[in-house]
């Protein structure tokens, strides 16, 4: 069926889901970590490690879902390591994050050597487009359960942060460690738990890349999704539901470049491919003001202190 220019819209819709899902998981992880007052720049390493672990476990066990779980656990370990290191006096979380980023990617490349060539079992997809008789739309709406799980996680996380005692504790620790200590809250333990959970989500984001889309383990797999997540969280104003919209927007924007070329807009593809980054920069610039802090920013973050 000839869809012509509608192809761009279909690609943006499909891309929002396909490309956006790993961003969703990583940004939710980063959101939770930052809510507790820490920045984990190491999520890029966590993502790559998760991608490798997921692929390897799926290959050996034959179960891609077990791979996803193990990717989460690997991410959790890296997250816990980051926050444990940060709980020492005068240790800067950004510096540790950069070290963890290099450590995570390096370790994943080292251990992932034997998994570049073999083909692991892929995560199954769900056909949400069966109602349509347009094959292109059907393909775009072929989604993975992880996307739906991501939406649920975003909603639950938003609810928990706002309405539960646990969420309140995380927020207090993130707003002011001193106040939290005065209340008798275990600041380090809460931060370690939040960062470890954040790492778990980022690891799952990585396994989506290797086990579903683009479905491959290679050393060039990540194109900085883990780092972009930090910007996306600011973009989303530290709100989990915001993370969902921002990830979808980002995914759709990333799909624009190739799809425009496919319909014959052949010039300027470097610019079109850079649209997501330009968009992020623009939002950062527009929302930054020396006169006020951003809405929703945890005040104990090293960058906002």
């Amino acid at each position: 069926m000839d869809v012509g220019w509608w192809g761009v819209l279909i690609a943006v819709l499909g891309g929002a889901i396909r490309i956006g899902t790993p961003f969703l998981f990583v940004s939710l992880g980063e959101c939770l970590t930052e809510k507790s007052g820490r920045i984990n720049l190491g999520l890029e390493g966590t993502l790559v490690m998760g991608a490798m672990t997921g692929y390897a476990v799926s290959l050996h066990s034959g179960s891609p879902w077990l791979g996803v779980l193990c990717a989460g656990l690997a991410g959790m370990t890296l997250g816990a390591l980051h926050s444990w290191l940060c709980s020492f006096k005068r240790v800067n979380d950004i510096a540790v994050g950069i070290a963890m980023m290099l450590f995570g990617t390096g370790l994943a490349f080292f251990l992932g050597k034997p998994y570049i060539q073999p083909s692991a079992p892929r995560l199954p997809s769900i056909d949400l487009g069966a109602w349509s008789d347009i094959p292109q739309l059907q393909a775009a709406l072929q989604i993975n359960a992880l996307f739906l799980i991501g939406i649920v996680v975003a909603v639950v996380l938003a609810w928990m942060l706002k309405h539960t005692a646990w969420g309140l504790k995380v927020r207090v620790v993130g707003e002011s460690a001193d106040a939290a200590r005065a209340l008798g809250l275990p600041v380090h333990r809460i931060r370690i738990l939040s960062t470890a959970q954040g790492g778990f989500l980022a690891g799952i984001g990585g396994s989506y890349l290797s086990l579903y889309y683009p479905f491959n383990w290679s050393e060039g797999l990540s194109s900085g999704q883990g780092l972009m997540a930090v910007a996306l969280v600011i973009f989303a104003r530290w709100h989990p539901i915001g993370c969902l919209w921002v990830s979808l927007l980002w995914g759709g924007a990333a799909a624009l470049g190739p799809s425009l070329q496919s319909v014959g807009i052949t010039g300027g593809y470097y610019i079109f491919n850079a649209i997501p980054y330009i968009m992020t920069l623009a939002v950062m610039i527009i929302t930054c003001s020396p006169k006020r802090t951003l809405v929703g920013v945890p005040h104990d973050l090293t960058v906002s202190r």
Binding site: A11, I116, A140, P214, S218, P258, Y269
Partner: protein, 377 residues
């Protein structure tokens, strides 16, 4: 005692032929090998992982083929960046492993790295994969080898064109550099040689390894109704598996990816470095001069075409085989005028032809009529 025994035997074996040719040697100077060293030692350097289903794997397969010979000792190092790192690797391969010949396989290794290290080891051969060596300008112990893989792309284009129902093919390419454009143009000309209305939709991703964008490009092309796809990126794995998932045909690149797409892998353009490396090993063993430039396509065995998928019907196979036979006999000229580019400009006038070795083709900056795409970034 045993050393001198070997010495005599080796001299006898290499014998009079080598001695006679000694005076005529115009090629590369020979390493002062210890006579006792009886294996040909070859070092290979790759820029990426050995098993990427792509460029590096193709070279690694070549290395593995020579390594099987019992009179060759081959070693390699992968993922060596095109920086001072490769200089260190080359030095250690010569000094520690005793390499007599080095094959730094990545394009970016040549200038300045090989050019810097080669003069320090005048007795070691540095053979670079790519077209950068120039006689007289570069050191005597440097040479280059490269294959015309666009010949295989022409044949693959015929198969793709023959199998396409929509008459629309897709090409996911990294960057609009001459080598890539030549592949796109050959693929298109091959397809149009049997079905003149075929179009080839090209998407440039902007870099050699961008898995997510390669997958997006493939999906977008399928959405536009293309039903056979190929690519020129470092590792075709993502394009091939995505095409298979979308249920369209594909043709491979660099090496054989039929395992990744058992249903849709029609054929593919592959390197055959085993042939090149075997030839070099023979030359070194027989102490014959090594040519500075090794070039060739299907005829010389430097490139090959993957075995056709069983669903490719006899008629299409015959057309592909006929073109292949013309390449093998050397009578094929792909760039024979009149040829227009995709903006309508005549780039090769009627009656004019550019044979495969024509240097003019190596500065290609246009896309042939039938390609939907632009070289402008």
């Amino acid at each position: 005692m045993s050393t001198s025994n070997k010495l005599t035997r080796r001299q006898l074996l290499t014998g009079t032929a080598a001695a006679g040719a000694l005076g005529l040697w115009g090629g590369l100077p020979w390493p002062d090998r210890a006579w006792g060293a009886d294996k040909v030692k070859m070092g290979f350097i790759f820029v990426g992982p050995r098993d990427d289903y792509g460029y590096n794997q193709a070279h690694f397969e070549g290395k593995s083929a020579v390594a099987k010979l019992d009179w060759v000792k081959a070693f390699d190092e992968e993922k060596v960046p095109e920086t001072i790192e490769v200089q260190k690797t080359m030095e250690s391969m010569v000094k520690l492993d005793g390499a007599q010949v080095l094959f730094p396989t990545s394009f970016g290794y040549f200038d300045p790295h090989i050019l810097k290290v080669a003069p320090q080891f005048p007795n070691i051969q540095f053979l670079h994969c790519g077209g950068l060596y120039q006689e007289g300008k570069h050191p005597q112990n440097v040479g280059s080898y490269f294959g015309y893989i666009d010949e295989s792309q022409y044949v693959a284009g015929i198969v793709a064109g023959g199998m396409s129902k929509s008459g629309k093919l897709g090409f996911v390419a990294a960057k609009p550099i001459p080598q890539v454009l030549r592949n796109i143009n050959n693929y298109t000309l091959g397809a149009r040689s049997i079905k003149p209305n075929t179009t080839v939709n090209v998407i440039f991703t902007g870099d050699w390894s961008l898995p997510v964008r390669e997958a997006e490009a493939t999906n977008s092309l399928v959405d536009q109704g293309i039903d056979v796809i190929t690519c020129h990126v470092d590792s075709p794995k993502v394009v091939i598996t995505t095409a298979e998932k979308r249920g369209i045909y594909c043709t491979g690149y660099h090496c054989n990816q039929s395992k990744l797409a058992p249903k849709g892998y029609l054929t593919g353009a592959e390197w055959n470095w085993a042939k090149v490396y075997m030839d070099y090993a023979e030359l070194i063993r027989n102490r014959q001069p090594i040519p500075h430039l090794v070039r060739g396509g299907l005829k010389q065995g430097l490139v090959k075409v993957s075995e056709y998928h069983q669903i490719v019907p006899g008629a299409v196979r015959n057309q592909a085989e006929a073109a292949k036979a013309k390449f093998m006999s050397g009578s094929m000229v792909v760039y024979k005028g009149p040829i227009k580019d995709n903006t309508g400009r005549v780039v090769i006038a009627a009656g004019k032809e550019h044979v495969q070795t024509d240097i003019w083709l190596e500065s290609m900056d246009w896309l042939v009529e039938g390609v939907v795409g632009s070289t402008k970034s």
